[in-house]
């Protein structure tokens, strides 16, 4: 168990270092941050001086060395645009993204799993077919398009939901939450639905496939042969066995929710890290972009690890093997 953890942590560290390197190198090419930071009338001389002062003229290895050295101390530099420590900026934005992702994920699970179970158990029913086609329609529309349409219909035309932002938030000191206020919940619904739709489809299809698989196994046949009640078979035996793969893949999807979050956050002006990143792209705010990427990598790696640990909890076979 401990050996397993150490091994995984080592791999995670390697992944993070490589991501750091890539993040660092790639953003050297993203554009000229200086042009963004000064007015049009600033002289070439002043711009060159600024570039020098920011260390943009140093060689890449030197810059990378400095970056890593500071990064391991938790110092990711100041945002070029906002003049604030990047770590603070991201820390302020992270709760918004995590709340949005979790609510979206929750919606996806609450709606996706029952739909998947139903269409897996009754693959021939017309409702299952409808679920299947509807879910395909869901992933055939780009996220941004869905977001725009939801805003247009529910925000503007029907005026049922706010069209942007987080609503009222409560500051808990280390976390700002919108989930303790009515307007916070009111505001999160449209973006969470937008973000969750793809995941919902995905989870529904995954659960369906797994249920279909499990229902073909001998132990389900045997359970039926023993006369175990249908509900017990479907929701006890079958569903529990589908949970293992669903958990793994859904966990990995949580990571990609953060990636998809960029688009949703920008459409709904949701003040999370994705929006920060999109803004950083347009202003070539290199420290923000690099740190964001590292953060995403960290989230991915941690989720992977957590999923593996959960896996151990759910599946007794693995528990024994890893001892």
């Amino acid at each position: 168990m401990i050996r397993f953890l150490i091994e995984r942590l080592f791999q995670a560290a390697v992944v993070l270092i490589v991501v750091a390197l890539l993040a660092f190198v790639m953003f050297r090419f993203a554009g000229d941050p200086v042009a963004q930071m000064v007015s049009l009338d600033t002289t070439a001389e002043d711009r060159a001086a600024l570039r020098e002062a920011m260390g943009l003229n140093n060689s890449l290895p030197v810059q990378f060395g400095q970056f890593v050295l500071r990064a391991v101390q938790g110092d990711f530099g100041l945002s070029y645009q906002m003049g604030q420590p990047v770590a603070t900026l991201l820390a302020e934005r992270l709760p918004a993204s995590i709340e949005l992702s979790l609510v979206a994920f929750g919606i996806a699970l609450i709606v996706g799993i029952p739909m998947g179970v139903y269409s897996g158990l009754y693959p021939e029913s017309w409702l299952s077919r409808a679920f299947l086609i509807l879910s395909l329609a869901g992933i055939s529309l780009p996220t941004f398009f869905i977001g725009i349409m939801l805003i247009l219909i529910f925000g503007v035309e029907l005026n049922l939901f706010p069209t942007f932002g987080r609503g009222e938030t409560v500051d808990l000191g280390w976390w700002t939450t919108g989930l303790l206020t009515g307007s916070g919940w009111h505001s999160i619904i449209l973006p969470a639905c937008t973000l969750g739709l793809f995941q919902m489809t995905f989870i529904m299809r995954l659960v369906r496939a797994e249920i279909l698989d499990v229902m073909r196994t001998d132990y389900i046949k045997f359970a039926r042969a023993r006369g175990i009640a249908k509900g017990r078979i479907n929701y006890g035996h079958a569903l529990k066995n589908t949970l293992v793969p669903v958990l793994t893949i859904a966990g990995l999807q949580l990571g990609s929710i953060i990636a998809f979050g960029i688009v949703t956050e920008s459409v709904f002006q949701w003040p999370g890290i994705g929006l920060l990143f999109i803004q950083a792209i347009s202003t070539v705010d290199i420290p923000v972009m690099s740190t964001y990427l590292l953060l995403v990598a960290l989230i991915f790696v941690s989720i992977n690890l957590i999923v593996d640990l959960l896996y151990l909890l759910v599946d007794p076979r693995l528990r024994v093997r890893s001892r």
Partner: protein, 558 residues
């Protein structure tokens, strides 16, 4: 009134083009305390009868005619039929148990479904059931998960589960096929006991006549969905009336005496031609390459052979743990002989075969072929020349042929690789001849493997193995996945080839009767080590090693 009475049962599987009739007009009955053996080859419809009784036919199968009565009542009208009245045991104990629940959970759940019991009562009942099916220390083991049990123990758990609801009838669908012989005997005894002590009726579905002979009171023989013969076990085995039953019994390898050949009595009701017996006239196969040196001494010498598998990886070598699949093995294979290698699953016999065939590199020891140490040949050309002379036939005819290649390409692959033919037309002629030799006909080359039955596929494998004109053939359980009648044909083919081509064969099997029919000498393996190596008849008649003795005593016989 019979416990179970099946009258004129017909089961159909409609598909879009035609309707496949899996069971045709079958009438059967089972009494309390009686074991009815339902025997037949694959596709005979014997399992379908079992699932039809349970009402568990897979879609789109349906009962098209006839009735199933339990104590005179239509089975379909019995509300709590499944579990309460009829229970079932499946073939593979590894997949019959839900891996995520403990044995206790699965048992108590089933008990409480059928009987009004508190959780604690159900638990006690579960422990006692486990005890009854012969699981020692049931009190502790009941809290374990299925994967913590061995195959045989799991099948006992499965039986305990089937008994939870105190059924009147148990349908056991090939309950021992996946098990080693020693375990098989125990499970069959258990089933026997159940029938006697509890008065439960049992339908024992199997393809194995030995199992039937040992266990069943009465036998029903099925062929292509129809019942061909039914009667007392002794009568069917010793005096079969129907020609199909006769041919089936004739094809069963006898453990008690050695035959020269399997009788070529093959039942063909629809007049389809039986696979031709081989006529080996082709000179390409017989012509020896110039590079083969005809030495003396054993063809293959195995010295100190060992191989271990990593069971736990670690960065520090001392923390790694291994299991010895094969340990310090020494034996010779003489020129022209058939050496049998027997042992239960996990004994390491396949690993030995794979090392000799060059698939795995041994960790220790050496393999010498025709006087040359295989590991010490530096030139890849020479190694290839040597390797060409060693070929292998695998166990599973369904996975040993690449499904995306045409048969002719499969057979031609070794020819191309060893550059044994100059031109494409020569290759295709050789391939055609090879397919003729194994009794498939040259036209088979244009087809894909999935268009053939298991026995035919095994013939393709043999053709491929012959294509390099090998001197040494490794047969790794070549017939264990085949029906007995097909097995007999393949074994005859191998015997003929051996005689015609002077082949030396390493014949691996867990089936002692087959080994007795095929081999000149037999080596017995257990836990990666050699127990005994002796002339076949000597070994069967007077085994020296206690393990060998046990194996032979458990050998089912007709």
């Amino acid at each position: 009134m019979s416990l179970l009475a099946i009258k004129n049962l017909t089961v159909e599987y409609p598909s879009r083009k035609s309707t496949f009739t899996a069971v045709r007009d079958v009438t059967l009955s089972v009494e309390r305390g009686e074991i009815l053996g339902l025997v037949g080859e694959s596709g005979a419809g014997k399992s379908t009868i079992g699932t039809a009784v349970m009402g568990l036919l897979d879609a789109p199968g349906r009962v098209a005619g006839g009735e199933i009565l339990i104590d005179g009542q239509d089975a379909r009208s019995i509300a709590n039929l499944r579990g309460a009245r009829v229970s079932m045991i499946f073939q593979d104990p590894l997949t019959s148990l839900n891996p995520l629940y403990t044995v206790a959970q699965q048992l108590t759940e089933t008990i409480r479904t059928h009987r009004r019991m508190t959780r604690a009562e159900a638990h006690d009942e579960a422990v006692s059931l486990l005890d009854q099916v012969g699981i020692a220390d049931a009190e502790t083991r009941i809290t374990q998960y299925p994967h913590q049990f061995s195959g045989g123990m799991r099948q006992r758990v499965v039986i305990a589960l089937a008994l939870c609801s105190q059924p009147d009838l148990i349908i056991a669908d090939e309950p021992t096929t996946a098990l080693d012989v020693s375990v098989q005997a125990q499970i069959l005894d258990l089933i026997r006991d159940l029938a006697v002590s509890r008065g439960v009726g049992v339908i024992l579905v199997t393809h194995d006549m030995g199992v039937i002979a040992q266990t069943a009171d009465r036998v029903a023989v099925m062929y292509h969905g129809a019942l061909v013969e039914e009667g007392k076990t002794a009568q069917i085995i010793h005096d079969p009336q129907h020609p199909y039953t006769q041919s089936l019994l004739a094809a069963v390898p006898r453990g008690e005496r050695k035959l020269d050949r399997f009788p070529s009595l093959t039942y063909q009701p629809d007049g389809a031609p039986a696979p031709q017996e081989m006529t080996l006239t082709d000179d390409w196969l017989r012509s020896k390459g110039k590079d083969e040196n005809q030495g003396t001494g054993p063809l293959v010498q195995v010295r100190g052979l060992g191989m271990r598998f990593l069971t736990r990886n670690a960065i520090l070598p001392k923390n790694r743990s291994y299991i010895d699949a094969v340990k310090d093995l020494n034996f010779d294979i003489n020129r022209g002989e058939v050496l049998g290698l027997v042992g239960e699953s996990g004994s390491g016999k396949s690993t030995v075969a794979r090392m000799i065939a060059g698939i795995h590199a041994p960790d220790t020891g050496s393999i010498t072929f025709d006087g040359q140490d295989m590991a010490k040949i530096a030139s890849s050309h020479e190694r290839q020349a040597l390797r060409r002379q060693i070929q292998m036939i695998f166990q599973d005819p369904y996975s040993s042929l690449n499904p995306r290649m045409r048969v002719r390409d499969i057979v031609a692959e070794p020819i191309h690789h060893n550059r044994l033919s100059e031109t494409a037309s020569e290759t295709s002629r050789i391939v055609g001849d090879l397919l003729e030799v194994v009794g498939l006909g040259a036209a088979a080359g244009a087809k894909f493997p999935h268009e053939f039955s298991g026995g035919q596929r095994q013939r393709i494998s043999i053709a491929r193995a012959l294509a390099t004109r090998p001197r040494f053939l490794i047969c790794d359980e070549p017939t264990s996945a085949l029906d007995v009648s097909i097995q007999a044909q393949i074994l005859n083919l191998l015997k003929d080839l051996r005689d015609a081509l002077d082949l030396t064969i390493l014949f691996i099997s867990h089936d002692l009767p087959v080994v007795r029919q095929m081999c000149d000498r037999v080596a017995v393996m257990r836990n990666g080590q050699l127990c005994e190596l002796a002339e076949t008849e000597a070994l069967f008649e007077a085994p020296r090693d206690p393990y060998t003795r046990e194996l032979i005593s458990l050998m089912p016989s007709l």
